[in-house]
Symmetry: C2
Subunit: 242 residues, 2 copies
DNA sequence: CGTATGGTTGATCTCACTCAAGGGTTGTGG
DNA sequence: CCACAACCCTTGAGTGAGATCAACCATACG
């Protein structure tokens, strides 16, 4: 089953050309697959890791917990995202990764990734690029949470998620499936659940977004992007020799 | 003058062993030096970059601007920080970098960094590691801004900055120089200047922190770290084969 | 000196939190 | 097949944190 690598290759090929040999090198990586239940902790906080996890199917979030009991989500992973690739270098990560819905994930041993990086400088840079894009998203989130008002922030999150899912081939025609609870979105945006609910209703009432169950529709993407000050540059979705 | 490379080597050697040859390879990188005035924009927003910038001396911040005129700072760079190393892969960055005080920075052409990465897999990973640490800081900032109350957030920022400056050899005995205005800290924490001022006064009044001019003193680091829920793990300041 | 910049203070108002309860849907067991 | 529990969404009311507005002070600088 080669589908394991499709989301990843899709993410890479969006950003640079890969030779047939490079594609083959990636495809030859050994892996173990795992199905995770909704709510399951995929990667525990503070663990010492010997493999890195790639999401094939489903949504996961990266969260930190404070002593006070508060929780902040600082990352959202869609299929094709190399959830904890940084662990290849860090060995230890200080947040945990949780499945939002039933997920299919695969783990690649660090040993094999390491060997790949020893012989393939260009692929190394492409993996590096993935972690850099992840960092760019985090920086954009800082801006959202710090200076965008909740409606703008939510609009931005929707634009970003749509764009990322579109790359993964999971969103089109201004619609996508977003299996997340309002409590989780509140933990993304740093708001209370009650206020989160009211913010969503605000976007609904203006007709900008239709959100029923897990189905999100954007009436006019351009308009929403303008409202949110969303500029996809930071996602680096263009081909370029890297 | 080899001091150009000291802050960088310090940052790297803190996290892994480097061979004499590797150190020599770094030292042999060609560069151009520049002095930046306080408030000067070092790297313009959206520019196409052919070199990456390392801070030798002074403080810089990375900021985003919204249409509304609001500004959010999403990164703080201390000496030894490779400010826009991600640009090596991204080519284009969507935020700008500004000097907080008079800074000494050096630029390394991407061509040379690229060549270095082609032949040195381990050094590549070390540079990669720097960008990953930068990302880890951004994630921690999301948590701070989203879920820490202003006093905790400020305490966390102080602990983080002290720890990072300590690595750079610029802080010890619980004291450091922090040439930043309250308006800038407000843009880091996503607060208004007035409230920022009151938050600082709060930390001062409890005696946890002395802050006069640009000199910041921490009365009891452990106590402040506890208050802020600060755990330096995310800074990855230990030696490990990467 | 006058001016600019940054820090400080007070008053007012609004946004967002908390608390508390009700409603809808799904799944499960009697 | 219905009752109940669990989970999530929704709504209302009261409170408080943080924004905004508007001054005033301190220091550095030309």
């Amino acid at each position: 089953m080669s589908e394991v690598f499709e989301p990843l290759l899709r993410a890479l090929l969006q950003r640079d050309h890969l030779s047939a040999d490079e594609v083959a090198q990636i495809r030859s990586l050994p892996f173990r697959k795992r199905i995770c239940e909704r709510g399951e902790q995929i990667i525990p906080d503070g663990a010492r890791l010997r493999e890195s996890c790639l999401v094939i199917n489903g949504f996961t979030v990266r969260a930190s917990h404070l002593r006070s009991g508060k929780r902040q989500i600082n990352g959202l992973h869609v299929p094709g995202d190399f959830v904890d690739l940084p662990a290849l270098l860090l060995k230890k990560i200080s947040h945990n990764v949780v499945a939002l819905n039933e997920c299919e994930v695969v783990f690649f041993p660090h040993r094999d990734l390491r060997e790949l990086c020893e012989r393939e400088p260009h692929l190394t840079r492409m993996l590096w690029l993935l972690t850099v894009c992840d960092g760019a998203i985090a920086k954009e989130w800082i801006t959202s949470i710090g200076r965008r008002v909740p409606e703008e922030h939510l609009a931005h999150l929707i634009c970003e998620t749509y764009t990322r899912l579109n790359v993964a081939g999971l969103a089109r025609d201004n619609r996508f499936d977003f299996p997340i609870t309002q409590a989780d979105i509140a933990d993304i945006m740093g708001l209370s659940v009650v206020h989160m609910n009211r913010t969503i209703q605000e976007l609904r009432s203006t007709g900008e977004v239709t959100w029923k169950g897990t189905s999100v529709s954007i009436l006019d993407f351009e308009a929403l992007a303008t409202r949110a000050d969303f500029d996809a540059t930071y996602l680096n979705l263009w081909k370029e020799p890297r």
